[in-house]
Subunit: 136 residues, 4 copies
């Protein structure tokens, strides 16, 4: 699936959050997903909240898997390990770089680096595992 197809999939299937995310790139290396940071994503102090970072990592990896196996497939998050390494910068979007490390018949494994736009050092890193149910 291309970046445009992934974006259309988000809009169709996840209406309520589709506006939060923009698929910047989708290729062999993985998917880059932008979070359009809004007030609802912030916690006191003005930085992006932990649950929002979790959501960004999870959606980015989900799309990276779909890009490889197509939109008909289901994939269910079974594990997410998040390292919070730096405070996000205030007032800028976040970018997630997701790559698939293993795509097996029943499990997919990948990782995500999350950045505040314009900064080189990652804010957080996530590792995710998905269960892929057998096709019916």
């Amino acid at each position: 699936m291309t970046a445009a197809e992934l974006q259309a999939f988000l809009t169709r299937e996840f209406t309520q959050v589709a506006d939060d995310f923009a698929v910047e790139r989708a290729d062999q290396a993985g998917v880059c997903l932008r979070l359009r940071v809004q007030d609802k994503h912030l916690r006191p102090g003005g930085t992006v909240s932990g649950p929002t970072i979790f959501a960004l990592a999870d959606v980015a990896m989900y799309l990276a898997i779909l890009a490889r196996i197509g939109p008909a497939a289901l994939a269910v998050t079974t594990n997410c390990s998040l390292d919070f390494m730096r405070k996000p910068a205030a007032g800028v979007d976040m970018l997630a770089e997701a790559r698939v490390l293993k795509l097996g018949r029943s499990l997919a494994v990948g990782d995500v680096l999350l950045f505040s736009q314009g900064l080189n050092e990652p804010v957080a890193r996530a590792n995710l595992t998905y269960s892929i149910p057998p096709a019916r």
Copy 2:
């Protein structure tokens, strides 16, 4: 800190989410925190979303640490590993049982089991590590 003191702390410091959470119990064994499930916590299909489960685990462990070291302290989440094991039940609250496994000078480590109310098998499990900055 007692359950009532923790609840008051939530109300004071985390105004925008304090109504989502009720401290059910706080004692030597840890903290039990209720998530009052509302529409905003659900994803398509009607079950509690991943970011909401993350938030519940993080707040429960944070309060379990504060219960031991007091409200003046700061604690910053550095790692959260979540295993999603079962689909949450629809239409019921969730309960998080958090316990502190290590409370060091600079690191606290604990785990959380998350349940849909009325069910015996956990929906999810979280392990969290917090950095505790030196007192000033």
Copy 3:
């Protein structure tokens, strides 16, 4: 499977390490496994090494799963997350308390607390996920 059956399984299938481990208990709550600490398990300074703690956690959880699904089954470790919380005590055995949190058709999830014998505070904590291949 009982503790004696699990021990016999270890002796038969894992000859080269079976003497390192003693199954102390196997019941509904899980499995308690003893590591008979020997020089080969230590690192400089005389405490139990990280790889040894990994091995103890992995074997304990593997046996806890077998206790539930029987010795014919295969289970392959897909994730292990270890928190090292305290230095092991020198000169004593270690004990691992493993419990299964989810036993699905294709995935098993559990956790392990690891203690130096005689101490109440855990040395380490592990979370493990296993893939259970379909029966043939």
Copy 4:
């Protein structure tokens, strides 16, 4: 520290395992460490064992941190999360590519991809966190 200095450090401080490991590269991108696979590293079936993979990841990341902060420093593993993704190839060495993602005053975070020599797809992936005690 250069690759040669890291190798000399291993030989001096970790005599009993120094022969297992060869520092292939150390630069800004991180450290590449070779495991010279021997019988003692194998489990039944002839593939590299889980505890050996843990050890390889832990030593590789430890050296990647030392390369940045120097040999006088101490660093203690506080968390290691390992995803086992493929069976290692039999009869070949393993290579670990470790990179430091955060080097803070008290915490270092990094990840490691582990390969069987000659194969492009990683056997395993590790994420590690180290506590760096204050200098004395």
